[in-house]
């Protein structure tokens, strides 16, 4: 799926999500909902946030899968898979489970290959010899 289309679908489905960005494993931006002017700053801040959350929870020993950082102004969500990270912002007191679900679905959309077109069924060959004999 096209990255911009996936994020467009995400913001359409989830009215709670205000802005979102998808980063590759090397930190490059795959898609974002914010304009070109603020995109690089958004990407940089998300990378710093991801590093800070990983550091903050480092003693726990597990691999970070997702996080919600809630503030009085709103929340920032992070969801990771093997290759990508998606980050999104919401207003105050969002429906946490729903936002995580939508973000995971969006991230899966980036991972899944495009469906191949189904091969057409061949027309059965007409037996010319049989027809000629008859």
């Amino acid at each position: 799926m096209d990255g911009a289309q996936a994020l467009s679908d995400l913001t359409e489905i989830s009215s709670q999500i205000q802005a979102a960005i998808v980063l590759d494993a090397d930190g490059s931006t795959l898609a974002t909902t914010v304009d070109e002017q603020r995109g690089p700053e958004f990407a940089q801040a998300v990378q710093e946030l991801l590093a800070a959350v990983t550091r903050a929870s480092g003693d726990e020993g597990g691999t970070l899968a997702q996080a919600e950082i809630a503030t009085g102004d709103g929340s920032v969500f992070l969801v990771r898979d093997e290759q990508r990270t998606i980050a999104a912002t919401t207003g105050r007191e969002p429906t946490v489970g729903l936002v995580f679900y939508d973000l995971k679905s969006c991230l899966r959309g980036f991972s899944e290959p495009k469906p191949k077109p189904r091969p057409r069924a061949r027309k059965p060959k007409v037996d010319e010899q049989g027809d000629a004999a008859a």
Binding site: Q18, A19, V34, R38, E41, F42, A45, V46, E48, L49, A52, V53, R55, A56, S57, E60, G62, T63, L64, A65, Q66, A67, E68, I69, A70, T71, G72, D73, G74, S75, V76, A87, T89, R92, E93, V96
Partner: protein, 69 residues
């Protein structure tokens, strides 16, 4: 006498407003937290004021500010 009543009324209103502001600030601060979920299903919650959360929360506020301006 009416002047005393007006002053008392104003003090009461000012006190109520100050209390309301303090209460809202306190409840907003209580909302600030970092919830981290791991692949193994475990989860840790870092409250505002915890040393681990002190670097995370300002970054989240910066992101919210960046995306809204």
């Amino acid at each position: 006498m009416p002047r005393h009543k007006a002053v008392a009324g104003a003090a009461l209103v000012a006190g109520s407003l100050a209390g309301l502001v303090a209460l809202r600030r306190r409840s907003a601060r209580r909302r600030d937290r970092v919830d981290v979920y791991f692949e193994d299903g475990s989860m840790v919650s870092l409250a505002d004021g915890a040393p681990e959360a002190s670097t995370v929360l300002p970054l989240a506020r910066r992101i919210l500010e960046t995306t809204r301006n």
